[in-house]
Symmetry: C2
Subunit: 200 residues, 2 copies
Amino acid sequence: MNDADRHVAAMKKLQNEHRERRSKARDPGRGLVLVHTGDGKGKSSSAFGVIVRALGWGQRVAVVQFIKGKWQTGERQFFAKLEGAVDWHTMGDGFTWDTQDKAGDTEAARRAFERARGMLECGDYDLVVLDEINIALRYDYLTATEVKAGLDARHERTSVILTGRDAPEELCAYADLVSEMREIKHPYKAGIRAQRGIDF
Amino acid sequence: MNDADRHVAAMKKLQNEHRERRSKARDPGRGLVLVHTGDGKGKSSSAFGVIVRALGWGQRVAVVQFIKGKWQTGERQFFAKLEGAVDWHTMGDGFTWDTQDKAGDTEAARRAFERARGMLECGDYDLVVLDEINIALRYDYLTATEVKAGLDARHERTSVILTGRDAPEELCAYADLVSEMREIKHPYKAGIRAQRGIDF
């Protein structure tokens, strides 16, 4: 076989694998639960990318940000300009290392999750993003048990993305998809400042 | 120490680490090169999320898609509706396993990369996304050497994101940031069909 023939043979094999998987695949009949975790870049940004996909298909989207507080970000400015395309709620008072107030942070996280529960149950949304909720779980502001109960109670139309490092095992076991973003190399480590439009 | 005090102590330590890192951090004085690779979900979608951040800050963005061809996606429909916010070019004829034509795919990838080089050099863009270019490298449609030369020749204002599984070692060594999206669990494996608004 020459190179072109080998390529055709390899691609036919791949194509068959894809076709077979596709022919067996079924619709879940309900929204999915996706977890983005790990120490690398891309957990929140890929949730924002999925929002873009959903909006492109005319779907309805809500976001609850659990941690980032009042910090000005590109994503918030962008979706604010789209006027009502995304229901965006930032409930946190900022990074936990800046507030240094466990009781206050817990209270803020619980209010945020109450809001999120309403969004999950109401049936208005195709996609709800719970941004950095894994950090709220990491610091015991919320329990995995109550978050799973909230996910169980979601409307069948609604998919959910939960982001943040250190997602608890119990949540990963519950989810349909878990992606771990691993830091292989990061410019912070080389002493480079967080960049507008890239990191926030 | 009680629980609240322990929390304050731990958070102060974290805050100091963040402050110290931030005080030492410098601006790179040029755009960064980011690689999103791995077998998990989130490589392209996090690039689209970074586009949202960049647009939120009023930056200019271009995308060249190397592989996905004429397949209708949420992201393309979304950015098309924004009228000129993103210069979007889909140069591939589709998945390599559907075309099964190495010479044709190579030619398409080379044309796409010529287009990308122009975008990298012209200085019009803060961010250029080379979506699925790692697949073009994986199948030897392009070489890592020529891609690095294109990145070297970019305007100092321009950051670049290169996505796709199997990013070559040479490209990862060159990049400022490498994030590996690892598949921990994926609904395809459970026989669930790719979902509109989530997967495309």
